[in-house]
């Protein structure tokens, strides 16, 4: 029942699919109940956002924006040779394009505010990423990042020391302490046999890793699998299938609208938009609440390639699709009634030194670690969320390794998939893989790490040097999880999705931002220029006055009789351009004695300019004032005169 006059809205199948009903994010029902992302700010961390475009301008948030490439507050994209810096604007349009403006398209959370942090259009370092992840983190609620390390099927990279610290700081202190929400795209390395567990942003427990499916719900050719993927949503597929329609920039060849946005870049912002809808109905959701709601509400669907496995807690997960498709109706109804999960508990095993060879045969190397109840008593950890394994493995060809982790329930996670293009001889050095496939399962029990060498060359064997297991979870018991699952299902009718029902929401913390006002280089340069300009003109005018003084034959004969003043040229006088210069005091010695000139007492009659002739009371008054020497008693005068001199 929702109609917009935006010309491309009918083509936005991901919002409302008329051709294949159900193949969309199921958001119109949420909009009908006025849930549009109001009060939430999403920031697109990318190559800039053209916020002047009419689909974005009304929702643009300058307070949440910044340009780290040029170091100024305006994240406008800069046209480049490849006509490439439209990426951030397209992502922004998916999230918050304004409806009913007869222009292009509509955003998922068209009531939210959209900001931009321009950071990809130039050299990027760890410290710049760290600044970006916490930039205006009390204003920006959700950080949408549709980028990452190379998806070339042979890179192992992720946030470095500062980037990691900033992600952690963001979930601790961001968004008034509820935690910034970091949404990352899982990667486009499908054609290179890549796997997003080799991407530290996707692997991070602090990020929501989003994959893509095409309009038919299948994994597109470019998409990657991984055990740390939380969920998927729609994007473009191969040529026969439709891509995502969204706002585009109108610089260079841009028209302001595109029907060709695709890749996991297009999926992540849709997820960010849906999370914005969740935060409107429940602003106090923590970063972990958001992850839990995604796990509880993502929907499994029929796809025989997906290899769905249902874990001990009843959650179905696929390496291709995570816990399934994001569904805006389910996400928002769950958010409406969600009460916060218990604090994050964790358990870290000792560093387990193995130094065991990985057999060249099909037989794998298997190592175990048992986590006892006693191990968990301290943290209270009962059920799992993320499980991370940090490994150091030497091997002459890294891509030949296959690493699997089995949780106590027997749930298998392919955490290190073989990669045919990865011939790196340096193996893994303290690389952390992670999996979400054991979410909700009991933490206690034996964990099995299984490493196989699937290479075909008979090269030298790899060696597992050491590994370390880290469990993240909470005190929730399996019963608590089942209860929550039931509670959510009861809310899916939408009966709570009205303003009459609102659970109490604790206020956030008031955390000052470190953005103490400092001068940006542009401002500083302007000030310096103004300063130079001022100094120059001051010097010029001083010289001019001095020189004109000198030219004026100024020799007053004040020794006898009244001072003669240079004849003011009639012309100059008429034009009022003559220069007035006069001594401020007579030659009278302040001590009363001295070089008194004869005759009438010499006074420094202040020849006020001609305005005196335009008589009025005040002027005659000032005339009197001007002739003040006659009026004041000498002693006072002297003092007065002395002061004046």
């Amino acid at each position: 029942g929702v109609h917009f006059n935006d010309p491309k809205y009918p083509q936005q199948w991901h919002l409302n699919n008329r051709r294949s009903p159900g193949r969309d994010i199921n958001v119109t029902g949420v909009w009908e109940r006025n849930v549009t992302g109001r009060g939430v700010t999403v920031v697109v961390v990318d190559d800039g956002v053209e916020h002047t475009i009419q689909d974005i301008a009304p929702n643009y948030s300058p307070e949440g924006s910044y340009d780290l490439n040029s170091n100024d507050p305006d994240p406008m994209p800069h046209p480049d040779l490849e006509n490439g810096n439209h990426h951030g604007t397209r992502c922004a349009g998916e999230i918050a394009a304004v409806p009913n403006n007869s222009f292009c398209a509509v955003g998922v959370a068209f009531g939210s505010r959209i900001a931009g942090i321009r950071v990809l259009d130039g050299p990027l370092t760890d410290s710049m990423e760290a600044v970006a992840f916490n930039k205006h983190y009390q204003i920006n609620d959700i950080y949408s990042c549709s980028w990452g390390p190379d998806d070339d099927g042979k890179t192992v990279d992720g946030p470095h020391q500062l980037g990691k610290a900033a992600l952690q700081h963001g979930v601790i202190a961001g968004r008034q302490g509820f935690g910034s929400i970091f949404v990352v795209a899982s990667g486009n390395g499908g054609q290179h046999n890549d796997n997003c567990n080799y991407d530290g942003y996707a692997n991070s427990i602090y990020t929501v890793t989003i994959g893509a499916v095409d309009e038919e719900g299948r994994m597109p050719f470019y998409a990657e699998e991984c055990a740390s993927m939380l969920a998927v949503t729609f994007s473009g597929g191969d040529k026969m299938l439709r891509s995502i329609v969204t706002t585009d920039w109108d610089l260079q060849k841009g028209t302001g609208c595109t029907e060709g946005h695709t890749g996991t870049s297009a999926a992540a912002p849709l997820a960010a938009g849906m999370i914005a809808l969740m935060l409107q109905v429940r602003p106090c959701l923590t970063w972990r609440d958001v992850q839990h709601i995604i796990v509880f509400t993502a929907t499994r669907y029929e796809d025989r390639h997906a290899d769905w496995i249902t874990n001990e807690a009843g959650f179905s997960h696929s390496h291709q699709h995570g816990f399934g498709l994001l569904n805006a109706w389910r996400l928002v109804n769950a958010a409406k009634i969600w009460t916060s999960v218990p604090y994050l508990a964790s358990y870290v095993s000792p560093v387990l030194k193995e130094n065991k060879a990985i057999p060249l045969s099909a037989r794998p190397l298997e190592v175990l670690w048992n986590v006892s109840r006693m191990d968990l008593d301290m943290s209270g950890l009962k059920t799992l969320e993320h499980v991370a394994v940090t490994v150091s493995i030497t091997h002459p060809r890294r891509g030949s390794l296959e690493v699997k982790l089995f949780c106590p329930s027997g749930m298998m996670s392919l955490i290190g998939a073989p990669r045919s293009l990865d011939s790196d001889p340096n193996g893994f050095n303290d690389w952390t893989f992670s999996t979400v496939r054991c979410w909700g399962e009991r933490a206690k029990g034996t964990y099995r790490l299984v490493i196989r060498d699937v290479g075909d060359e008979t090269s030298q064997a790899g060696v597992l040097r050491q590994w370390q297991l880290t469990l993240y979870g909470s005190v929730w018991s399996p019963v608590d999880i089942r209860d929550r699952q039931r509670l959510l299902e009861s809310a899916m009718s939408g009966k709570y999705l009205h303003d009459g029902f609102t659970l109490p929401c604790p206020p956030g913390l008031n955390i000052p931002e470190e953005d103490g006002y400092t001068i940006t280089p542009n401002t500083l340069k302007t000030l310096v220029l103004i300063g130079c300009f001022t100094v120059f003109w001051t010097i010029y005018y001083t010289l001019e006055v001095y020189l004109s003084q000198r030219n004026v034959a100024f020799r007053p004969i004040c020794r006898s009789g009244p001072c003669h003043w240079p004849q003011r040229s009639q012309k100059a006088k008429e034009e009022g351009t003559e220069l007035e210069s006069m001594p401020l005091c007579s030659s009278q010695d302040p001590g009363g004695v001295g070089l008194e000139s004869e005759g009438s007492p010499t006074t420094s009659r202040l020849h006020a300019p001609d305005l005196l002739d335009q008589g009025d009371w005040s002027l005659s008054q000032s005339r009197g004032a001007l002739d003040v020497p006659q009026l004041l008693p000498p002693d006072l005068l002297q003092g007065k005169e002395a002061q004046m001199c």
């Binding site: 170091n71 130039g122 760890d126 710049m128 760290a130 600044v131 980028w147 900033a166 996991t264 400092t518």
Partner: protein, 104 residues
């Protein structure tokens, strides 16, 4: 030149190091850390480009602008690494390298 919100992280052309400083907690901690960063910058011949975003105790030290020979750069790098490695206030340091990131 201090840009809004921390290090002048505009595209680093020259050498730069991120450092994690040890310092007092509580009132005045920020000023004390800033002073230590300034002193460290002086000791290394770099410029204190300010705190790195919202990360307490993390500072960016950058090489003053100016073109240098490769040999000089190498010498500067070694000298800075030596100073940072033995400085008692430095808990951690890392030379900032360009990261390769691709849009997806």
């Amino acid at each position: 030149l201090v840009g809004a919100g921390g290090p002048r992280a505009q595209g680093p052309r020259g050498l730069s190091w991120a450092v994690r400083l040890d310092g007092p907690e509580g009132e005045g901690a920020e000023e004390s850390l800033e002073r230590r960063a300034d002193a460290l910058a002086q000791a290394t011949g770099l410029m204190n480009a300010g705190r790195i975003g919202e990360l307490q105790g993390h500072y960016l030290l950058v090489q003053p602008a100016g073109h240098r020979q490769a040999r000089q750069v190498k010498a500067i790098r070694q000298q800075v690494e030596a100073v940072l490695a033995r400085h008692e206030a430095v808990r951690w340091h890392s030379e900032q390298r360009l990261l390769k990131r691709t849009k997806r």
